[in-house]
């Protein structure tokens, strides 16, 4: 689940602004909330990570298990994001360019993974292909291991980030309508030409936006991955799982050092997100 996209609208009306004292109190309260819930946790991460100095920090993130965790996370992202982006394009094309019965139901089904607890998301794959299930043991006999290994992590992440791209593209393509595609059709374009030359350029920012959200969640997913991973260091540990292990071993500095990598990525995501919202504002 992710919060609805922020669409910048009209600036504040100039008339009717609240009295200055009211403004100051409300802005103050907001900053207080942000201090407690945003600024303090953020600064805590860096203060803890660098507690034992710059060199120790580098040591923590260069340590082989940490590097393996980063590699596994990158691998997961590089598989999950393209697959879900491709699905998002297909689903958005079917839903926005055609009328068919059951469209509303299909849209609701797309949202399902948002409503499911991450732990349940992991559990369902254990129930489907875990070694104690018929299908899982059959796969095991043929040398395929899914749960407690990389494919399991990838599949669980696919589920959790499933709707991100589709959710961005559907409202965008609905608003753009079918006119341009129909115009291209009357000018003799074939299906893939229409898609590549007309539709794709029109939705590229929305697509990128969805992919960024999808990546952020893929990198950070904890609950679902935690169920299917088996927590084998150097093999099935993603970055968030590695953070957890270090923390539960009371290795706080190392845990926060690795966590600081995730904070960097989150901050980059936020910067990209607001930059792209700015882009939306410009094109709208």
């Amino acid at each position: 689940m992710h919060p609805p996209k922020r669409t910048p609208g009209n600036p504040a009306p100039k008339t009717l602004s609240d009295p200055k004292p009211v403004q100051i109190v409300l802005i103050g309260l907001t900053f207080l909330f942000f201090t407690g819930f945003i600024f303090l946790p953020l600064s805590l991460v860096f203060s803890q990570a660098f507690q034992k100095g710059w060199e120790f920090y580098l040591e923590c993130i260069r340590e082989p298990y940490a590097v393996e965790a980063v590699k596994l996370t990158l691998l997961t992202v590089s598989v999950v994001v393209p697959l879900n982006a491709f699905f998002g394009l297909a689903a958005a094309w079917a839903i926005t360019k055609f009328n068919f019965r059951g469209k509303a139901a299909l849209k609701t089904l797309l949202d399902l993974p948002f409503a499911v607890s991450p732990v349940v998301a992991g559990l369902i794959f254990v129930l489907l292909v875990g070694s104690r299930t018929p299908f899982g043991s059959w796969l095991g006999e043929h040398g395929i291991k899914i749960i407690f290994s990389t494919p399991g992590i990838i599949i669980a992440t696919l589920f959790v980030t499933f709707p991100f791209v589709a959710r961005e593209l559907i409202p965008l393509m609905e608003a753009q309508g079918r006119d341009e595609e129909e115009a291209a059709l009357t000018l003799g374009a074939k299906g893939w030409q229409i898609f590549a030359k007309i539709t794709l350029p029109n939705i590229k920012w929305g697509l990128l936006y969805g992919m960024i959200l999808c990546s952020a969640r893929s990198i950070g997913e904890f609950g679902a991955v935690s169920v299917v991973s088996g927590h084998i260091r150097g093999q099935t540990n993603t970055i968030p799982l590695h953070v957890e292990i270090l923390y539960s071993e009371y290795n706080f500095t190392a845990s926060f050092a690795v966590a600081s990598l995730l904070v960097f990525l989150a901050l980059i995501t936020i910067v990209l997100k607001s930059a792209m919202e700015h882009q939306f504002k410009k094109t709208a």
Binding site: P3, P4, R6, G9, N10, A12, P13, T15, L16, D18, Q23, L26, I27, T30, F33, F34, F37, I38, L42, L44, V45, Q48, F87, A90, A91, W93, A94, K97, F98, F100, G102, L106, L112, A115, V116, S117, P118, V119, V120, L123, I124, L127, L128, E182, I194, G220, F222, G223, I239, P240, V243, E244, F252, S255, F256, A259, L262, A266, I270, S274
Partner: protein, 277 residues
Amino acid sequence: MAFFQRKRRNILPGFGLSMGYTVFYLSAIVIVPLSMVFINTIPMGWEPFFSAVTTPRVLASYRVSFSTALFAAVFDAVAGLLTAWVLVRYRFPGKQFLDALVDLPFALPTAVAGICFATLYSPVGWLGKSLTSWGLTIINTPTGIIIALIFIGFPFVVRTIQPVLEELEPEIEEAAHCLGATRLQTFSKILLPHLFPALLTGATLAFARGIGEYGSVIFIAGNLPMKTEIAPLMIMSKLDQFDYNGASAVALVLLLISFSMLLLLNAVQEWQQKEYR
């Protein structure tokens, strides 16, 4: 199959292909795996199922999850409304910075949020130290869970209210003022009812997310049975004991709750559109 069939032929190409792939992928990644919960639970029979999901410890975990998520959602509704109001209506230095940071709880991996709050509120942490000296404990209590869930749910409320507030025509308020309403009256009689559906949607999203949340909670909760054990953690511990049936029974209850939240949300949004469009 009458479902998913085109109502009338549309002339654009690619319906069969895109629809086919959508249905296939949706089934493979979402529908079939999710149905495993039902497939695993149904052969249990009613009695064992019922007793599995109503043991005192499981019941307590529902209670913890439900009440903490509810508290957090209510708090988020207030804090989110405040933040959205300040961000839309006022000009002040650092506004854009604040606006961007609203998304941090979404972008930050939940495990990182979890260890942050656990460390902040630990008896030796930045906040925990002074709180402990006043005799207040946050860590290993439901209050700790609520704090983590407030963080997680916050962007949902802000981002649902913000666009509604932005699109609100100033004329509405001006009209109210011309008719002699005070600022407070305008807010409570005009603005709040107008924002209410969005507020409800945002709070419901935060609540739904809170019920299923795992990563940010387990570090600060301490996971004491009957006290601070959340429902997702019950699934986790049943899985650790290879009690697949028990795990899927609890998961089924959680799923049903989530689905009804989804339906409720759709209903709220439909009502919102009917009322205000």
